[in-house]
Symmetry: C2
Subunit: 337 residues, 2 copies
DNA sequence: TTGTACGCGTTATCAG
DNA sequence: CTGATAACGCGTACAA
């Protein structure tokens, strides 16, 4: 009998019924003190552990959350998952992982498998090229709640947590203005992304706050490829007004932009300054870290998204009371070198 | 009936027995063609999906692997987990995640929970301060196989995959010698770590291959803290022989060492060269990337460890045929800037 | 070719 | 206070 002991086994050895044992182990009030102690003693002796798979099955609940995200090797997501895990663990939930590697097909498959594994809920950050949301709609039928975070779909009735890029952008541009920059370029993302539009809004707002005119030709949408960045840089550097500072869409874009500037013989932080949005750990090992960076609080996003999901699962929050939570991004200065 | 359809339901609607339906769905050979098609048609129509939790329970198998590792925000581990996931997914296994955050207590708890969740097997990379292995020994009783990777325990009868630091170290030192360096410092780790001893052996070997004398005073063990690194640097820079190159234990150590050198007014790659072992993505955004880096193949380690575990689970490999696999590390040149 | 019966481990309901 | 029984969904040995 290398098989783990069961409740039945204990019952048999004690000439009790399985139900009594079960109750005794749960400290059910109306169980005789001595039977209870007896049972618990034997349980300890046999090193009894309840068979979770049986419980999951019986309770139709697995205490497992499915996490679907693009890439753990992106620092943003590995931070986010820690927030998720920590929050989930506190409520005795475990975490089932699936990386989409930014592939919509793979994402779809993962969601399907997780549904079959009967995860209690899902936390999702979309793959870049996900355009079809059928696999998420489908989950409603199975009563599996989903909370999206960071990369959220363009849908109405969903729960989500995401960073609001506007606040950080306002602060970023304001900082540059305060430092005397007047012609500020922005390498932005695709216009269909909310995050791009928020950056634009932030940019305008900061300018207006200083009663300065917003110049749309300085705010360039790109496809976020390296080539796109280089073209944008070329355009900005040959702008009729002399651009002295640049807000880059993210750290990867920033790196490419910096490199282009260097190739053009510009001196970073002298001829031209960069501000970016944090993806990479903004630490001492970056060659030319942006002078400041807009923090998006991945750990907190993970935490909050999980908290919402857990509230739904515990019934504290009705499924259809859609939580749409926005975390204000914030400008953080680079530590001096 | 928002409840998902079951095999019984299909049976009832078709006036069949549940077992027939079950068999039909599995394409059991001796089921009438037309019943089979009938069943499969209705199953599709009802969007039947087998209840995995029931299957898990019944088969005593969850098709889930538990992953216990210190920190996903370390690039090494996020790469490793991709190897794990990809390999696991190919065999229809899912991945249950637990980060120990380098805390032995937490590691222990995670292992316990995963055992209760009846994971089929475990992939583990130890927390730094794990000294007690009882929670792993315990798993034998439950017949849950464990494969360790990278940070492996000092135990006899275990499966593991780990990088061998010797090969890469030989190559690193050989490179430096070839470039004319004669006095090479090594900032090593605690002597009780296998990985430190392998570095020492590699260093000696490379020297001997060139018929050069190995000078132990150039190979300094440290505790891998920043302060430890700085002390080692101080010692090396004031060595009676002039140190012109340094092999650092890892990228974090390397960063600290470089910083110290800069503070001393040295020029990197001119007065002094660095070679390191890859933790950080060796890309263009490092300020002073080592000129070369010893690659430890995290993705492959994850792959191989998972492959071994799956072989054990499928019975291809006997539990007690202990696989102890070593992946040779290899020197990789830094891309030109 | 199909049906019956059973078991997996646990909890809940109902009875005593 | 405790026991018997059913139920969760599925697969499978045994019957027919």
């Amino acid at each position: 009998m290398p098989n783990p002991p069961t409740i039945k086994e204990i019952a048999r050895k004690l000439n009790l019924s399985a139900s009594t044992v079960s109750r005794a182990l749960h400290n059910h009030p109306r169980i005789g003190l001595k039977t209870r102690l007896q049972v618990q003693a034997l349980a300890r002796e046999l090193q009894y552990e309840p068979n979770q798979t049986a419980i999951f099955f019986q309770q139709k609940k697995t205490f497992t959350l499915g996490i679907v995200l693009p890439e753990l090797s992106e620092a943003f997501f590995s931070a986010a998952i820690s927030g998720i895990e920590d929050t989930a663990n506190k409520s005795n939930y475990m975490v089932l992982l699936g990386q989409s590697h930014d592939d919509a097909t793979r994402e779809e498959k993962i969601v399907g498998i997780m549904k079959n594994h009967r995860v209690d809920g899902l936390l999702v950050s979309l793959a870049k090229n996900t355009v079809n949301y059928a696999h998420f709609e489908m989950l409603r039928k199975y009563n599996i709640p989903v909370v999206f975070f960071d990369r959220i779909p363009d849908m109405q009735h969903i729960h989500y947590v995401a960073a609001n890029m506007e606040s950080g952008t306002v602060q970023a541009v304001a900082l540059l203005l305060q430092q005397g920059h007047r012609v500020i370029g922005m390498i932005n993302g695709p216009e269909k992304l909310i995050a791009s539009r928020q950056r634009t809004t932030g940019y305008r707002t900061a300018m207006q706050q200083q009663r300065l005119k917003y110049d749309a030709t300085l705010n360039l949408p790109t496809d976020l490829t390296r080539e796109g960045t280089r073209q944008a840089m070329q355009q900005l550097l040959s702008h009729k007004r002399k651009v002295t500072a640049i807000v880059a869409f993210n750290d990867y874009v920033s790196q490419d932009a910096v490199q282009y500037a260097l190739e053009q013989g510009l001196q970073i932080n002298k001829d031209i300054c960069f501000v970016s949005y944090a993806n990479l750990p903004l630490s001492s090992y970056m060659a030319f870290p942006p002078m400041a960076s807009v923090e998006q609080y991945p750990y907190q996003q993970g935490q909050q998204a999980t908290a919402i999901l857990l509230d739904i699962l515990s019934g504290k929050l009705p499924q259809d009371d859609y939580q749409q939570l926005t975390i204000d991004s914030r400008l953080v200065m680079a530590p001096g070198r």
